[in-house]
């Protein structure tokens, strides 16, 4: 009797194929990980600077007619008898908007935001300071009068022409309004649509089936339509036809709502389909009507899946910029919108705006805003996974 050969290796060709495939898969994973890592590192390297802000301490010795001239005067005091050109250099060490945020009425020491050129010089990005400025800045750094702190302005300010005080708050509020209303609008419609298609089939044979197939193809198609087309739709229907104002969150919200509607319908249908038939049988067998079965048993059981799908839809909507550009949400927003009817912008559009700016100081703002957006997306996706793990029913 022949014993089983357990010691010999796999024959050459078969082994090579197996090993080759194994390495191909491993290297594919490696390449993906490497690309992600490069992406994050590059963004982090370029964007980390935006989270700190260069500030400059000034000594106010005399009060002038306005805060602006008070600040200018205290800057001139840094050098004995400056000429006109030096004065200009000195003035330009603090941000041009400094006087709008602070009201100086007493003599003393004040902390102001430094000009973007000083900021960039301190952070070592580029050096556009002239000789006078450079000497003074170096001097002030030594005296600890120019230093970097946590950049609250980045979180609490809206957009600005001056990169050193530009922030994302306006865009964040705009994003909340836009996405919040979009989901309020798309969730009930999407879920009702899915319930209609999954839970209330008509038994009238071929016609219904054809209708359902047609709807399914349509919805799947809508999910694949390029997002800019939805922007055109919003522009043509909401703004041109219904005459709503441009740039407001409400129009953006309806446009994004239509955009994520098919995603919500598809995920809700999938979630409804995972609810086992025997639960419907049990409920119907007790004399529940179809609607009661759906509301009391099927929807609660499908809810974790529906919510997960909706969060993924939200994540998609948050990252959209093209349709919002079409409906004019690329406005330059200096103050955060207070209602959805105010002109607003969203994070991705803000990123687009900053990336488009000629001032080099906006480069790090762009990367930082991308980082914020990525962190928000990762949080949402983690939340989706957590919700699914936590509330999923194991049948």
């Amino acid at each position: 009797m022949q014993s089983i050969d357990l010691n010999s290796k796999l024959e050459g060709k078969r082994r090579r194929l197996q090993k080759g495939l194994e390495y191909a898969c491993k290297s594919a994973l490696g390449i993906t990980a490497l690309m992600m890592l490069t992406f994050f590192l590059a963004l982090g390297y370029r964007g980390i600077g935006a989270f700190s802000q260069t500030q400059i301490e000034i000594n106010v010795t005399s009060i002038e007619s306005s805060t602006k001239s008070t600040i200018n005067q205290s800057m001139y005091n840094l050098i004995k008898e400056p000429d006109r050109k030096t004065k200009k250099s000195l003035r330009q060490l603090v941000t041009p908007n400094a006087y709008s945020k602070i009201d100086i009425t007493e003599v003393g020491t004040y902390v102001l935001v430094a000009h973007t050129d000083v900021d960039m010089y301190v952070k070592g990005v580029y050096n556009k300071l002239d000789e006078v400025q450079q000497v003074i800045v170096d001097n002030l750094i030594e005296q600890d009068k120019i230093y970097r702190t946590w950049n609250w302005d980045f979180w609490t300010n809206s957009d600005s022409r001056s990169p050193e005080i530009a922030g994302i708050w306006g865009a964040v509020v705009g994003t909340f309004y836009t996405i919040g209303i979009a989901i309020l609008f798309a969730f009930p419609i999407g879920v009702s649509c899915a319930v209609h298609m999954e839970e209330f089939p008509q038994r009238k044979g071929k016609g219904w089936k054809r209708y359902r197939d047609f709807m399914e193809i349509n919805i799947n198609n809508l999910a694949a339509v390029p997002s800019i087309v939805y922007g055109l739709l919003g522009l043509a229907v909401l703004i041109n036809f219904f005459g709503m104002s441009r740039s407001i969150s409400l129009v953006g919200a309806i446009t994004l709502g239509i955009l994520v509607l098919p995603v919500i319908v598809i995920s809700a249908r999938t979630a409804l389909r995972t609810v086992p038939q025997h639960i419907r049988d049990a409920s119907n067998g007790l004399g529940a009507s179809r609607l009661q079965t759906t509301i009391y048993q099927v929807l609660p059981a499908a809810l974790p899946g529906i919510i997960t799908g909706t969060i993924i839809a939200i994540a998609r909507a948050i990252g959209e910029s093209a349709p919002l550009i079409m409906i004019g949400m690329v406005a330059f927003i200096l103050t955060a919108p207070s209602t959805p009817m105010d002109p607003a912008t969203t994070l991705p559009v803000q990123i687009f705006l900053w990336a488009d700016s000629p001032e080099r100081g906006f480069a790090e703002k762009t990367s930082a805003a991308i980082l914020v957006l990525l962190v928000a997306l990762v949080t949402l996706n983690l939340l989706a996974i957590w919700l699914r793990k936590r509330f999923e029913i194991k049948w």
């Binding site: 086992p276 049988d281 007790l286 004399g287 048993q297």
Partner: protein, 262 residues
């Protein structure tokens, strides 16, 4: 008075006449006639795919939920045809004709909520106390109360298979039915749980009319009073269980009950 009781007991609770069911092109039930008596256990036996379950589901119109299922003929319950019109109140029908399925299918909720769901649907309790009483009574009738009384608010999925099945029976009893349809209630259970359910069925027989589909011929023999043998969609033989098992008149019935096939 005596005569009255007698008529009640011996009268047909369910009278199925000339029932035909099609799934698309497949003729699943062919010209079925069957009288089901009150307070009797009627067993439906036969090989797989012979239409027992379809027949059972026809008795409370659960087949309505299946696409392409067409039903012709009449099913009289207490002399009212449940297929008379499409406007029959099927919700009340299913309340009165409860159903227990092959696989224990509790809702993913607490034990209490499982039983309380039906009474809430039909607004049978006016307040919490009444609902508590209904839940307690139903669990007691299903011989489950003693096992679960301390953990009424635990998830029903934590119960064993046999307990889950008795919970499903309790859930059906909670809406105060007259007829119970059991679709192979023991096929997913071990012998001890099966025994508990069989005891329960014999107990419930006193107050309910029971129709049970079973693959287990010994079970049919043990618990049923009347048996109907299905073969390829037709009721080939029906009669008292004793006669069907001891002295079947049809060749196929004989082959099946003696274990030659099936």
């Amino acid at each position: 008075m005596v005569r009255d009781t007698l008529t009640l007991d011996s009268s047909a609770k369910i009278n199925v006449r000339n029932l035909n069911i099609w799934y698309d092109d497949h003729h699943a039930i062919i010209d079925a006639d069957l009288q089901i008596r009150k307070n009797n256990v009627t067993a439906l036996i036969g090989p797989s795919g012979c239409g027992k379950s379809t027949f059972l589901r026809a008795l409370n119109r659960m087949n309505d939920f299946i696409d392409d299922c067409v039903t012709k003929g009449s099913v009289d319950i207490d002399d009212t045809d449940i297929y008379r019109t499409q406007y029959t109140n099927v919700n009340n029908l299913r309340k009165s004709v409860g159903m227990v399925f092959q696989k224990p299918n509790p809702f993913p909720k607490s034990i209490y909520e499982n039983v309380a769901y039906g009474p809430r649907l039909h607004r049978m309790a006016e307040d919490k106390e009444q609902l508590d009483i209904i839940v307690k009574d139903s669990l007691k009738k299903a011989n489950l109360w003693n096992e679960v009384k301390d953990r009424l608010h635990d998830n029903a999925f934590g119960l064993s298979g046999g307990q889950q099945q008795r919970l499903c029976i309790a859930r059906s009893l909670a809406v105060d039915p007259q007829i119970l349809l059991l679709d192979e209630p023991c096929s997913a259970l071990d012998p001890i749980s099966t025994h508990a359910i069989e005891e329960l069925i014999l107990e419930l027989k006193k107050s309910y009319t029971i129709v049970i589909v079973t693959h287990n011929m010994h079970q049919a023999k043990r618990i049923s009073d009347t048996t109907a043998y299905f073969h390829l969609g037709e009721i080939i033989e029906k009669g008292s269980t004793k006669k069907i098992f001891d002295n079947p008149s049809h060749r196929k019935t004989k082959a099946y009950v003696s274990g030659d096939f099936g």
